[in-house]
Symmetry: C3
Subunit: 428 residues, 3 copies
């Protein structure tokens, strides 16, 4: 132990944040499993190899390059209208000299490294069963190197959104402790771009009749993944409360309970809504509801009361199945993982609700500026960047690939080679 | 970080307990997966959606109402025979003003919120393949609102069982650091009520011949779930040692190792017993043995020596397969998850063994009073409450539902729609 | 809480190490799932029951006996050439009086108890689909009682390898914070012995033609297991940095990020290598690459810079698929889990790279002495011990067992009794 030899006793709060971050990869593992379970069996290995590799790409791209732009160390600031606008970080590449950085900066990079990997999974889930591996990695790299660092710097790295309170008197500045905006709205914008650019799965929207239901191939993966995701979210929200919101440690228990209540409330209301609409509860939509509740907690958990967290979740749980249905039936959008409803809409609603329920005066205005920035800057930026990538690395596999299944086509072998799978001609 | 701005440095022990509790949901995730794996494939989605929703119901019901009765804040006390009997807590609903509570009280609610969700899974596992979703949620709500809070107040909230030492000189009062009684005996009593009220699965006990073996549909879920459960138990036992037993942090390592040894010893002896009886080790019973060992550790781990924890586990591991067989063959009880043997019997034995092996004088008497309370008050109370619920929300699906499988009947779709499943006429 | 009543505030670093160790079983759970997924479906229950029971055997054998020899408490020292050689610990059996030991010694036992269980899984994975349960447990017990304690004492318990710096001026002595040598090279040596003694699976190397590809039965288990393993490794490496390397807590974040980068770099390069060689990335080999990167991090993560950790992983990721192919095609070695390449070779390379990239002067010499000890003492010792065990408990099931599948033959029932499995005559 380091006791005798280390005069300065390390602070408790950073060490706690570190411990929480060791649990945060459960959000990545859980979401990967949910996404794989919501896709087809003939794409399951590709879905999961894609997820593991997206984590790898994100770690390397962010640690190598992205972290330079995200950090709070050096920063480029310009002054306009008598105010300073801190718009991008200027750190060292590949985390040079990292162990000499202040502890808080090191922890920020670890949080962001894990957060950007989670963000990269969101478009990948939306592209399930048709998006090529290389496209998944390219989109994750683009998020890790460019867009996420910029947004993270604005929100967490002392950038202008964080300074809205100090500079313009808007509450405590834009607050997003768990990444509702930086991770989920950003990733959800990527999901929107993917479904637009890649198009629907073959047979999803036949020329005549209704959209084809394509149930996920393994509901146990989906629901078990939800339980793991809960833990990952509790970890992210707790670490973010300490790192980004400078919360007192005494605030942590409420943060954890709010995370649980947001997910629970959302699941409950999705369950009731689907029961009423379809006569039976729908397991996939309930999983979507649970995750959407978690996404709202990314914004709210550390700021609001348990009652407010529950209400925020309940509202999101009502909206989720309606949004999923509207996207599918009214807009003919094929989003197998429900990423747009869960992450994009859940994140936006969570950020708004955090403004409504947070105790600070004027917080709602700060949140609205953040939401406007996400919609006005990052949504089009994601679309443009992904469109560019799509030209270099076409997102969609060719029609042979879709018929064979992504596993055979991209990996040369299936996830379940010994199990007999139904031939389902209607999808071929 | 909060260093400069927070004069009072937060205590280490509460923050540790919080960190451990972030891991505790692995007990919920692990047990859910074990239960799903021990049931039929045509009920797997219903089993897991039930589990996730039971967690949600428990979180909301306990945080909303149950916590008022469980807590140590206000309490109703009556005086009889010259002694004060603290019998129920009187807190605020929906965790009002929670962030102003003492840290210890906040952590207690978080522990209990997770613990009651775990308790709610136990009757659900016993009702696998035939119990309706609505009945699972109703039973979980009943535990969360009424029975668990009362018991938790008596044991952990300064109630009369906790005060047995101070008031009657019985050891250190009734000790149950990890919830062997409050979670597992209580949940196990619910399992007993469920198997009684719901009856056996169709075809389990044919008119002629022996009981039908109905092996779980996925042994990898069952065994992998056991490994996750180990971690959840280590977390609950460690957090409980700090919160409920006021153990020194230096006691934590022994607590964790005792948890591992209890599970390991129980698995080992179940393995030997099944090998001797059946000629081969039985994977499902071994999983039951491992879990039963963990349940004993919920009472013992923080109190006894590693040797005593090992012996307690070994004894439970011998008993588990014999109990499972006796319940099935002698009493015609159909308990697919083995919940009665694992949780009810394991919890009782653990509480007793803790009294035998704990260093305090007179501890065995305090444990016996606790056990008598569980058997004399809570077992009948659970039965009566569940009987009442059963009249409002019949536990058992109708015979059509059982033939179709719970997934198709209650959710309208199966967990594994693309996999070819054996038609097994003997069960139809 | 213990605040008021406990005058000496507990140190932070030991409590952190304890918290990290609660997460370390995810390495065991993850590796068990990877191994099961890489084997056949008709052996899956046996693979996982074997893994759980290997954990149990290891916990009991190490806590009961092995810990006496590993510990830093008492030790046998002999003097030769004017130097003292501390060669074995002499502690109490069954962790007697453990709660009175210094915290550091208690934590060491907890770390080692979990580490030896991980080591025991490595030969078991190499023997997949043909190794008998009893042989798996016997080899795990042998590692736990004899070889691991001796090696752990030498490396972590103040033994002569740890003292290489003080006694011979070789850097800081042999450094292995996460168990690259004590766990992975040792376990990998066991894997080598197993494949040698048990031989290849039936039909793996037909008399004519190439080796038969026998893909794992469930790629989702394999890839999801990789994500869980990442967390287990982050936990082991962080705890080991504090316990064995006496690192400052401020070094922890770099340790965690290095673990992520080593895995990510290795996955990335394996992916490219397999894509180039086979025209498509190979999911199983990518999983092997990821794990091999993690194994290198066991030696490097706490010592080197992020750039060095990434390079070490990338090199290992290039080597892994080439090693797997060379072992299979050139040496006709059948190692279903790739354990020899991943753990044995990954561990050796990690230890060497740690010497190359560590800042201490002369560290490379200390690492080479450690590597020579592993190859010169422990590799033959493992082989001899396993050969002896093989005579008492033949490793390999008879040919009937292999044809039926390990599940039916050893457990009397399959892992997936309701799923229809392809009959694959070519393997029979």
């Amino acid at each position: 132990m380091t006791t005798a030899s280390t005069p300065p006793v390390p602070d408790l709060a950073p060490m706690l944040a570190f411990g929480f971050l060791l649990l945060a990869p459960l959000a990545i593992a859980g979401l990967s499993l949910v996404n794989a379970g919501l896709g087809r069996s003939r794409s399951a290995a590709q879905a999961l190899l894609g997820s593991v590799a997206i984590a790898a790409v994100s770690f390397i791209a962010f640690a190598g390059v992205g972290a330079c732009f995200a950090g709070a160390g050096g920063a480029a600031v310009f002054t306009a209208a008598g105010k300073s606008w801190n718009w991008i970080g200027t750190g060292a590449i590949l985390l040079g000299q990292m162990s000499k950085w202040p502890m808080e900066a090191q922890l920020g990079v670890l949080f962001e490294c894990l957060a950007v990997a989670l963000a990269g999974l969101i478009p990948w889930g939306a592209g399930a069963d048709r998006m090529r591996l290389a496209a998944g990695w390219a989109t994750a790299a683009a998020l890790s190197v460019v867009l996420f660092p910029l947004l993270a710097h604005w929100v967490w790295g002392g950038g202008w959104l964080a300074e809205l309170g100090a500079n313009f008197g808007l509450g405590a500045g834009f607050l997003d402790g768990g990444g509702a905006g930086t991770v989920h709205v950003l990733g959800g914008a990527g999901a929107l771009a993917v479904v637009w650019l890649a198009g629907a799965r073959r047979g999803k929207f036949p020329k005549e009749g209704l959209a084809t239901a394509m149930p996920g191939h393994n509901a146990t993966y989906v629901l078990f993944g939800c339980l793991l995701a809960l833990m990952g979210w509790m970890a992210f929200n707790s670490a973010g409360a300490l790192l980004w919101l400078h919360a007192e440690p005494s605030r942590l228990v409420v943060t954890a309970i709010n995370t649980m209540l947001a997910a629970a409330g959302a699941l409950g209301s999705t369950l009731v809504v689907t029961w009423v609409r379809f006569g039976k509860p729908d397991a996939s939509l309930c999983a979507n509801g649970w995750l959407a509740g978690l996404v709202t907690s990314s914004a709210c958990a550390a700021l609001v009361s348990p009652a407010a967290a529950l209400v925020t979740g309940v509202v999101m749980g009502i909206a989720t199945p309606l949004l999923v249905e509207a996207l599918e039936l009214a807009l003919s959008i094929d989003d197998p993982s429900g990423a747009i409803s869960v992450h994009f809409m859940g994140g936006l609603w969570g950020l708004f609700a955090a403004g409504v329920f947070a105790p600070q005066r004027g917080q709602i205005l700060a949140q609205l500026v953040g939401i406007a920035t996400l919609l006005g800057v990052f949504l089009p930026a994601v679309y443009l960047l992904f469109e560019l990538i799509h030209r270099l690395v076409p997102f969609r596999v060719d029609s042979d690939g879709e018929r064979l299944g992504m596993d055979l086509y991209e990996l040369g072998g299936g996830a379940y080679p010994e199990f007999v799978i139904h031939r389902d001609e209607s999808y071929h």
